[in-house]
Symmetry: C2
Subunit: 312 residues, 2 copies
């Protein structure tokens, strides 16, 4: 028990990466949630502080994804003491940036770090999934990149179902989040239950091209493949204000592609180079402003590393 | 007009590679069709000899895929003389080994070679597709690997829709073709018109894993992904005699996976090493024999090169 405090930062993530619905995700550099874990009284992990959530997140340990994940870790290692947690939200809720996954991952990683890392990073996966499940379902498409970093292919929730892909060089993103609410449940409800076989063939082809482009570091092919979704985006487009106008504007300003980040409403413009991404971001935010929509935005890259730890 | 004769050998191909329905294909080493082109009288390409087809293929230049492809090349380059063709079938018809594609590719490549290669290999694609279309539809999934070699990802029929993937090392196949007829039209008719979204997610995930496994040269992952098809194989399984028994037997003899080659009835066992493949092939052929089915079989690898040419 040498540490008095452990701080974990878990990156925001973009699920789907365009066409890879429910199977692909990537970690976003420079934005994420922080959880600070300190020794506490009693038993189990309790949240004593939440910042940056606008008062929306519950403190109840049985309901907050951070404490659910943290307590799953404590249970897993058989630790019976108390831990106090502070959650500092660094990204907006329900915005398509993996907010709940980042909170769960930061909680699990912080507690594990405070305890002196009894569990490997891989062994934290079930605890993180348990936290994520409380809000977004038992899926690894956001949790895996936040925990492990880079781009992950997730065909299930077991470790052997998670494969890291290489991180292409030179990709910069402009993420812009308009101030509208898109609930994940609604974004799921609008999806078709059945799709034509032809569309399946198209989707498999585009996903194959996306993985191929990632390995070949071919940004043009990457962008084309990301935008190749004919199933999910058309079903959700009406939930994203001005999606097609935003895409056209982003491209007019040099973006290679624009896709919905996760279930939205955040949009992600894919650019070659940070300067293009900044130009695109400025244009998109100005455009939303003209339409009377407030927005937040940032330029980012793919984060090679997943959650990081600082010990005190 | 320096050549008096050009001989082209176009490899057999396996479309789908398991889970990659309509988008993936690979060239098979050592088996294929040969077309011999010689100067002739009159105008256009005419077949004067067909061997190895059991008398089933038409000599009519407007109906045979070889002459359709060859004449498309002559038209493309504006050559108005006559060419005599001999077609030597090296693979069984309608067996799931890309028979029509190999005949079309060999015809186009042979005529182009006789003329002194006025067209690049890439420029022959439309002529080959025109031949293939006469029998199997306007698809590139068999034509592309036969023409270009290796493993190809085909998301359309234009050159920019065709991407070569790396060829993993150490993969050996046992191909066994039972003496039953599976017509491609029937194999298509049994497919579902609509599929559940969940199955699409599964198929895209498995295709992504297949491309990833190809790039990482991970044969275990390759085999798992190839067999991950939950849409096409279940719909077609009843057309392939003893499919599941054959799979179990192949694995009991060391195969990593077994899939339907193209639209069948050829089955392809995926093995690590030539000796395992031979053992698996022997076991499968003995098994079919016990069931009263004649079969042909061969051990093969992925052919790095597409159609090859000899000049005389």
């Amino acid at each position: 028990m040498t540490n008095t405090r452990a701080e974990a930062f878990a990156p925001a993530t973009m699920a789907n990466i365009g066409v890879g619905f429910d199977i692909l995700g990537l970690a976003i550099s420079g934005v994420g949630d922080t959880v600070i874990a300190e020794w506490g009284d009693g038993e189990g992990a309790q949240l004593t502080r939440i910042e940056g959530d606008g008062g929306k997140l519950p403190f109840d340990a049985a309901q907050n994804v951070t404490t659910i994940a943290a307590n799953a870790v404590l249970r897993q290692v058989g630790y019976r003491g108390g831990v106090r947690l502070s959650l500092l939200k660094g990204l907006p809720l329900a915005s398509g940036l993996g907010s709940s996954a980042a909170s769960a991952v930061a909680g699990a990683v912080a507690v594990n770090a405070l305890l002196g890392e009894p569990l490997t990073r891989e062994a934290l996966l079930p605890a993180c999934l348990e936290g994520e499940a409380a809000v977004s379902g038992y899926h690894a498409d956001n949790v895996a990149p936040s925990l492990f970093g880079g781009i992950t292919l997730t065909t299930g929730v077991a470790l052997e179902d998670i494969q890291r892909l290489p991180v292409p060089l030179g990709v910069h993103f402009a993420f812009v989040t308009p101030n509208v609410e898109v609930r994940t449940a609604e974004a799921r409800a609008v999806l078709p239950a059945q799709i034509p076989l032809k569309q399946m063939i198209h989707q498999t082809g585009m996903v194959a091209r996306l993985v191929d482009a990632i390995y070949r570091n071919d940004l043009q092919a990457l962008a084309l493949a990301m935008e190749g979704d004919v199933v999910v985006e058309p079903a959700r487009a009406h939930l994203m204000p001005y999606l097609y106008e935003a895409r056209a504007l982003a491209k007019a300003n040099g973006a290679l592609a624009l896709v919905i980040s996760g279930a939205g409403p955040t949009l992600c413009a894919v650019c070659e180079g940070a300067q293009v991404a900044q130009t695109v971001l400025d244009a998109l935010q100005a455009f939303y402003g003209q339409k009377g929509l407030q927005s937040s935005g940032r330029v980012a890259q793919i984060a090679e590393r997943g959650a990081t730890v600082k010990l005190f």
